[in-house]
Amino acid sequence: MELLLDSLFNGVAIGSVLLVAALGLAIVFGLMGVINLAHGELMMLGAYTTYVTQLIFKLPILKPFYNSYIIVSIFLAFIVSGVVGILLEKTIIRKLYGSPLETLLATWGVSLILQQFVRSVPLAYGTGLVISLIIGLFLPTTFPSKIKESINFKYFKFSSWIFAALTGVLTGSVISSTVSKLSRASARNVDVTAPSWMRGQVEIIGTAFPKTRLMIIVITLISVIAITLFLNQSAWGMRIRAVTQNRQMSDCLGISTEKVDIITFGIGSGLAGVAGVAVSLLGSVGPNVGGNYIVGCFMVVVLGGVGNLLGTVLASFGIGIMTDLIGAGRLLSIWPDMPIPLSNTINFFATTSMARVMIFALIVIFLQFKPTGLFPQKGRMVEN
């Protein structure tokens, strides 16, 4: 019983990391048909946001609130990754709708640039750049509609970008002068330390669970509920679903598909940022942290069936539990006196990397029987 609970918890913990990482990908891929290979790097930005927030909360002014930095960083990571995603959509992906292979290559290029950016630009100035992006993209939308509709709006837009750039430079230099750790560029990995209330373990029915793992499960749960509510209950969620089903018809009915694309991509990227916070609690944060997750995330999306959140949830927990079962060789402890050839095989696969081999092989075999995943999209198209 205890063993089963332990195994289940480990599986759910692995699965929830996968789920929160794959959620954004599932939305972008399922709703827009865009392959975003930079998703892992958006996660990395979220993880670095956590790190920067942590250091800023160590400043004397914010020291009393230090324990709550992780909550703040979830929102900040959502905004940072979301804004970078929106910029990506506005500059590159917009030109490539309808050709997924091209988006795949272009976003891979973006991911290389983001990785090298983190290595060779001091984090303080990176923060400044992100702040100026946020101001530049959102300030014009807050103007009253009278100004927006006037002919001179482009001058307002231009001046708000100048204001944004100045603020960015200012914050960048302020941060770099106050927090010495952020003022130099380095390719070395950094560590996020959890606040004191998140360290240690909780005991449930005689088994000890680490609190950070529980926190990740909570983050995942909240993200899934929030995104489901957003898609099914809000007006923009309805528009997103409408555009997914029939883009031309929605356009005819007066839905701005351009805005829908931006919002969808922004939310998908923002969720990557939230996943980054979760990942930063698990280990050290480096420029390559996102690359470890990206293929696993794609497998979750493919296995779950494209454009179906329930499938994504089931697939990620399924993969998580299977990874734990195989990787820790748990079958052996459940059934200790199995025949020797079988136990040898299980031992052969009982490492993290070999468990991965087994899982991917199982997924490929599964796709032989259900090529479109657990919950396929229904339709009568020749091509989908």
């Binding site: 392959i35 590159i92 030109k95 490539l96 997924p100 292979l101 091209e102 795949l104 290559l105 272009a106 891979w108 290029g109 973006v110 991911s111 290389l112 640039i113 990785q115 090298q116 290595r119 060779s120 690359g291 293929v295 794609f298 497998m299 493919v302 490492t351 990397s353 070999m354 991965r356 081999v357 991917f360 092989a361 997924i363 490929v364 796709l367 032989q368 090529p371 020749v382 091509e383």
Partner: protein
């Protein structure tokens, strides 16, 4: 992508070839051994690029897992070299086995004692593996991005397997070839490297003619048909699965040859050949050179890799930015690659923009018909 190609002035084409041949013949005497070795390596990479061009440029299958077949070819060559020069080590097996306490050669090493077997294994094993993976995927009509994702996942499967098995193939350390013997000479020696350069050059040319032969005629037409409209090919009575499997295993075989040549020239084969970035890089060589143009794939592989080594020597940090920019540029601005741009309307449009060449004015309908008429 239009198939129409402007006929170049014959003199330009001829002088291009003469210069290229002269450069290759002169290279071994002009270049220092280090540079020659680099050039040889990049030439061998152009064979795998030819394979990528066949499956992506002509058939529309974007594989992100060519590293599997590349590394398999490399491992075949390295296993043979390790075995033949292991006579002075304990138990007559390669040296690294002693580190892990292995005393008996694993069974799959045995056939690699034979040079004939190895010669065939280098290209047949990768081709068979590619055919198997391809058949399983194509049979279910998995295509487009799903194919790309699945090939990438298979790449990770192979990487993790080779990376984790120290006792079978030396795991993450890989197999060294530069201190092994071939024909009684050290593989890493200068004279052998010169020999490998010549072998590579000959094989690149052979592979180029082979690829040209493959895409010529009806077989090539069906490939292009699959790329442009697969359901229509199926409705016409062809079975795309067979053609896709064949071309995918051809590309796998080319990747294997390329991997073997690369291994003997770089002196080591390791699971690093199966990392995700390396396999995506292969795509960018073809994309920059010009997909759907075989020469473009070769030139793209050689020039981008040479640029990479030159830039990395001068400014190590900037190569990632340049490479990332190349991916974005080639997708958004130059979808047909450099050679495709030159062969297409690119130069004429450029000259027209600066007013150096008179615009050709036609009726829109004439242009449309003309484009259709050129598709033979």
């Amino acid at each position: 992508m239009s198939l129409s190609k402007i006929k170049f002035d014959k003199k330009i084409v001829l002088s291009f070839w003469i210069i290229l041949i002269a450069l290759i013949v002169a290279a071994p005497t002009l270049l220092p051994v280090f540079r020659l070795n680099l050039l040889g390596r990049y030439l061998s990479l152009s064979i795998v690029a030819l394979g990528v061009d066949l499956i992506w440029g002509y058939t529309g299958l974007l594989s992100l897992g060519q590293g599997i077949f590349f590394a398999l070819g490399g491992y075949c060559a390295a296993m043979y070299l390790q075995i033949t020069s292991s006579s002075e080590f304990p138990n007559n097996i390669p040296e690294f086995f002693a580190l892990y306490g292995v005393e008996k050669l694993p069974f799959f090493w045995e056939p690699f004692r034979s040079p004939v077997f190895t010669f065939f294994a280098i290209w047949i094993i990768p081709a068979l593996v590619a055919g198997l993976i391809g058949f399983l995927v194509f049979r279910n009509r998995i295509k487009g991005v799903y194919f790309s994702i699945l090939t990438q996942a298979s790449l990770l499967v192979f990487f993790n397997f080779f990376n984790g098995q120290q006792k079978l193939i030396n795991g993450t350390n890989g197999l060294k070839t530069d201190v092994t013997q071939l024909f009684g000479q050290m593989v890493g020696s200068e004279s052998m490297q010169r020999l490998f350069f010549w072998i590579t050059t000959v094989l690149v040319i052979a592979a180029w003619f082979f690829a040209k032969w493959v895409v010529k005629g009806r077989f090539g037409n069906i490939l292009i048909g699959i790329r442009d409209d697969e359901p229509r090919v199926r409705f016409t009575g062809y079975n795309p699965v067979i053609f896709k499997t064949i071309i995918f295993s051809i590309a796998g075989g080319l990747a294997g040859i390329s991997g073997a040549l690369y291994t003997v020239q770089s002196g080591i084969v390791s699971p690093q050949f199966m990392t995700v970035p390396f396999s995506i890089e292969m795509v960018i060589w073809v994309a920059v050179g010009g997909r759907g143009t075989l020469l473009g794939a070769i030139l793209g592989a050689v020039f981008i890799n040479y640029a990479k080594s030159l830039v990395s020597e001068a400014l190590p940090a900037s190569w990632m930015f340049i490479q990332g920019g190349l991916f974005i540029l080639v997708v958004t601005a130059l979808p047909e690659g450099v050679l495709g741009w030159i062969q297409g309307d690119g130069p004429r449009n450029l000259l027209q923009r600066f007013g150096l060449k008179r615009k050709i004015e036609t009726y829109p309908s004439l242009e449309v018909n003309n484009k259709d008429g050129n598709n033979e």
